[in-house]
């Protein structure tokens, strides 16, 4: 290809017809208009949202703080918060899509209002977003924020790499958002099976959007996994042996290890599909020796461990919240650690249960079926441990605890349906029905999402220095729990009645009542999201009455509660020495908390770096160019990526020093605040008298 040929089509495949309202204007049939209006409305939301953001940033002169305090910051706490912001934005979008899908199915007897193609885009984006751009950023954000604090570190091992991971994830999320405005997303579901997603059957840009969004997110997650694992192995404070680590850190470690080993198969699967689509290779095609089963194996070799990447941090969160809000040390710590490790190991041995019906012989299915059922054992151990933790504890029903209780009840049910599905003979009966949809939502929503929301409520005061509004939090939590029950329990029944998953319309009138129950459940979940956003607004408005600068609003047990809220950028003025499990509880009991050291030393921190935002911009440009075949952009972005890494290699003096003087000043200000604070009992922990100093109460079981 000559240089000039690169510019023959400077915008590649981009045309007017790539816009969401084009079809509607060209062929104004009733169906086209309805679908066009919905698609255009969604696209407008993205565009208006982006414009509004730019206006607000300009109006309040926030560009500079955004750049220097946030996007170029290598601080793990800020990176964690930015991950969670991405997760919440994407949650809102994917949840609206879910409601739209439930509405379509409620009206779906003999038609409904959405076109099959539009419906297929909805379930594809919903799944892709919820996994890669909601759950993954959420848990990555929470681990980023909490884990270094819990192990008494100043930051992660590779802070700039952390910022780059965030940039890659953000670029992927942006790509999915742009697909709303320009062109169409894949219709191949979140796992995008070929040969359907090959160029023969899906010639449009949809699967390309999917491929590159996942590639960006997958690369980001691999680097994140490496970063977390190394941090936990290398950056622990003195005395923080592995068996003294808080359970959340243990689950973060296991998740990181799974990320390191499970993300490469995804990279390979999407890269091979891309080679098929772009260069006419034959990995997964029907003809010339292609074999789509390789894709199924590669994808689920990633996809199943991915499930545990998602759930393990949630298990960690529940372990922390249940123990804290029961006022007791975690029951069976050692067994919880072992169960976590066993789950991490078993997660690599069960991938085939995602395609029992795709042609293996019965013996292979049996092996994988048994392996799948085995996972129920360590998970069961955990459930019992949490219940024993609550047993004879002083249980406080705060919002994080409500999520944890909702989780225990609902997750056990979801796990049970999982054991059913692990049996190949049963799987054959309900395979590809909404029974499966009910099952994985039953573990994903009460498991992962409730866990993340529990974490959000639990650690929000630590991150921002004020508590979230309890009343709206409770309303939101109950709406989530009951909305979930309404939206997904009917799907078990519908699945047994034979409703296939991903159906845009059906002809069986007896499905209608349950579909409506599910729709109402979905509306309740939407209300839960609105309540969550309203809670955030109310809490920010009333923040002065809920400040917890002292930093320990919940009578916390691990190290992160032993510093101010929000913590200083270096986390700890003096690196703590760990002497026990639940080290902060022990320190409070023995009067070792809140000490004023004699000397302070200079603290070295990583300096700001533009690598994160640069890689985000380059990654987005590269992916966008690839999706639309804008080859000059692809070449430019590729060269820019290499150049940025080379330039970074030549960078020196990438750290900065916080002077001992400043550390002393900030630490004394905090210690003074501690001395001036009135300690509150647990009965008052949700009132404004709680400034983050916990009254010393008896720890452990009720006598």
């Amino acid at each position: 290809m000559s240089i000039a040929a690169l510019f023959d089509h400077p915008l590649g495949r981009l045309q007017w017809s790539s816009l969401p309202f084009w079809d509607m204007l060209q062929h104004p049939t009733k169906g086209n208009i309805i679908n066009g209006v919905i698609a255009t409305g969604a696209a407008s939301l993205v565009v208006v949202g982006a414009i509004a953001l730019v206006l607000v940033l300009t109006r309040y002169k926030l560009w500079r703080p955004l750049w220097s305090d946030w996007v170029t910051s290598p601080d793990h706490k800020k990176i964690g918060i930015m991950y969670i912001v991405i997760a919440l934005v994407m949650l809102a979008r994917a949840l609206i899509e879910a409601v739209l899908m439930r509405a379509q199915q409620a009206f779906g007897l003999g038609g409904g209002f959405l076109s099959p193609d539009h419906f297929a885009q909805l379930f594809s984006t919903h799944g892709t977003i919820m996994i890669f751009f909601m759950a993954m950023p959420f848990l990555t954000g929470v681990i980023n924020y909490v884990m270094p604090l819990q192990i008494g570190a100043r930051d992660v091992s590779f802070p700039v790499l952390n910022s780059i991971s965030l940039g890659l994830t953000a670029a992927g999320a942006a790509l999915v958002m742009v697909s709303l405005v320009i062109g169409k997303f894949s219709t191949g579901g979140w796992f995008g099976y070929p040969p359907y997603t090959e160029a023969n059957f899906s010639p449009g840009v949809g699967p390309d959007y999917w491929i590159w969004a996942l590639s960006l997110a997958g690369l980001g997650a691999t680097l994140t996994g490496i970063n977390f694992a190394v941090t936990i192995y290398r950056e622990r404070a003195p005395g923080m042996t592995l068996m003294r680590m808080p359970l959340f850190t243990w689950t973060a470690l296991c998740t990181a290890i799974i990320m390191i080993f499970a993300m490469p198969p995804l990279t390979v699967a999407t890269a091979q599909l891309a080679l098929d689509r772009y260069l006419g290779f034959h990995y997964f095609t029907n003809d010339l020796g292609g074999n789509m089963m390789n894709f199924a194996n590669l994808f689920w070799l990633f996809g199943h461990p991915e499930v545990y990447i998602l759930i393990l941090p949630a298990f960690g969160v529940y372990s922390e919240t249940i123990s804290t809000f029961s006022g007791k040390a975690l029951f069976g710590y050692r067994s919880l650690v072992m169960a976590t490790m066993v789950i991490a190991l078993l997660s690599f041995t069960v991938w085939l249960h995602h395609f029992f019906t795709m042609g293996q012989d019965a013996n292979i299915n049996a092996v994988f079926g048994i392996a799948s059922m085995l996972i129920g054992i360590p998970t069961g151990v955990k459930i019992y441990d949490w219940m024993w933790t609550m047993f004879r504890g002083r249980v406080r029903l705060t919002v994080p605890m409500i999520y944890a209780l909702g989780f225990i009840v609902l997750f056990v049910l979801g796990g049970m349906s999982g054991i059913l599905l692990a049996n190949p003979t049963i799987d054959y009966q309900v395979h590809n029905t909404v029974f499966l949809v009910a099952h994985f939502h039953n573990v994903a929503v009460p498991g992962v999402l409730f866990g993340m929301l529990s974490a959000y409520h639990f650690w929000f005061p630590k991150a921002f220095g004020f508590r979230l509004n309890e009343r709206w939090g409770m309303i939101s939590a109950l709406c989530w729990i009951f909305g979930f029950i309404g939206a997904f329990f009917p799907l078990y029944a519908l699945g047994l009645m034979g409703l296939p998953r991903r159906t845009v319309a059906y002809t069986e009138a007896r499905y209608v009542p349950l579909e409506w129950v599910a729709f109402l459940g979905a509306l309740l979940i939407l209300a839960a999201l609105l309540a969550l956003l309203w809670q955030l607004w109310v809490s920010i408005r009333d923040r002065d009455g809920n400040r917890v600068f002292v930093g320990d609003p919940w009578a916390g047990r691990s190290l992160e509660w032993s510093t101010s809220a929000p913590p200083p950028e270096y986390n700890y003025a003096v690196i703590p020495v760990v002497e026990d499990r639940d080290t902060f509880t022990r320190a409070k009991e023995q009067g070792r908390a809140y000490q004023r050291p004699d000397t302070y030393v200079d603290i070295e921190l990583p300096g700001n770096s533009a690598m994160g935002p640069a890689i985000a911009a380059i990654g987005f440009a590269l992916a966008f160019g690839l999706v639309w075949h804008i080859w000059w952009l692809v070449i430019l972005a590729f060269l820019a990526a290499i150049a940025s890494m080379i330039v970074r290699g030549f960078a020196r003096d990438t750290t900065r020093i916080v002077s001992a003087q400043q550390v002393r000043q900030e630490h004394h200000r905090w210690i003074d605040a501690v001395a001036a604070a009135t300690a509150v009992s647990r009965a008052d922990e949700c009132k404004s008298v709680n400034v983050g100093l916990a009254l010393q109460e008896a720890d452990g079981v009720v006598p």
Partner: protein
């Protein structure tokens, strides 16, 4: 002190350590080197998956040319020797770094390594072009797709290694042997030996396996 504990005292991280002669730098290397080992594990999985694709695609020739029609063992053997030799020369560079044999020896061994690496890539490209000439193009069959996933993936890694090596030479010129340059050389050394091991697997599985 048990032998293992004594070993741990000497070795702060897996692989060739800078050693106490480098003072603070030896300690500072530990986290970065450990991180790079973890990255290599992830990269090894990447290669593992591509190997699996190759092995499961052996019969997917779809009537097109197979290993016997395409592989030229003579050329492959020369390639292999070049890469193995480059691993040895990089080892000499690492020793020159560790025992402070001077910048000239270090740079010389690195340049020799680079030349051998580029030689390897030249032979590999020549192999590919002769495969193309015999109809061995990736779009011909599933087998050839898998071949052109695995072998060029290794080649791309080597290319990246060569670019990295050139950048490190630039850093030595600009900053001398400061901590960051040392860390770069030590990580590239691991990367280079890793690619050597992967190549031995490719040589055994793809070429020797394909021609038996």
């Amino acid at each position: 002190m048990s032998p293992q504990a004594a070993m741990y005292q000497v070795n702060k991280y897996p692989g060739l350590n800078l050693g106490p002669g480098h003072g603070q730098d030896d300690e500072a290397a530990a986290t970065v080197m450990f991180g790079f080992w973890v990255f290599l594990m992830s990269d090894a999985i990447l290669f593992g998956m591509v190997f699996a694709t190759y092995v499961t695609s052996l019969h997917g020739t779809a009537g097109g040319p197979g290993p016997h029609d395409l592989y030229d063992i003579k050329s492959i053997f020369i390639e292999t020797m070049l890469l193995l030799a480059s691993s040895f020369t990089f080892g000499m560079a690492s020793l020159a770094l560790k025992y402070k044999h001077g910048r000239i020896r270090l740079v010389s061994w690195m340049v020799v390594t680079l030349v051998l690496g580029i030689g390897f890539l030249g032979f590999e490209l020549h192999d590919f072009s002769s495969m193309f000439a015999h109809g061995g193009v990736p779009s011909r069959s599933g087998f050839l797709s898998a071949f052109f996933d695995l072998v060029p993936l290794h080649g791309l890694h080597v290319t990246a290694g060569c670019i990295w090596l050139i950048c490190l030479l630039g850093q030595i010129g600009r900053y001398g042997l400061d901590l960051k340059t040392k860390l770069g050389i030590m990580r590239l050394a691991l990367f280079w030996h890793f690619l050597d091991i992967v190549w031995i697997a490719i040589f055994s599985v793809v070429y020797l396996g394909g021609l038996t």
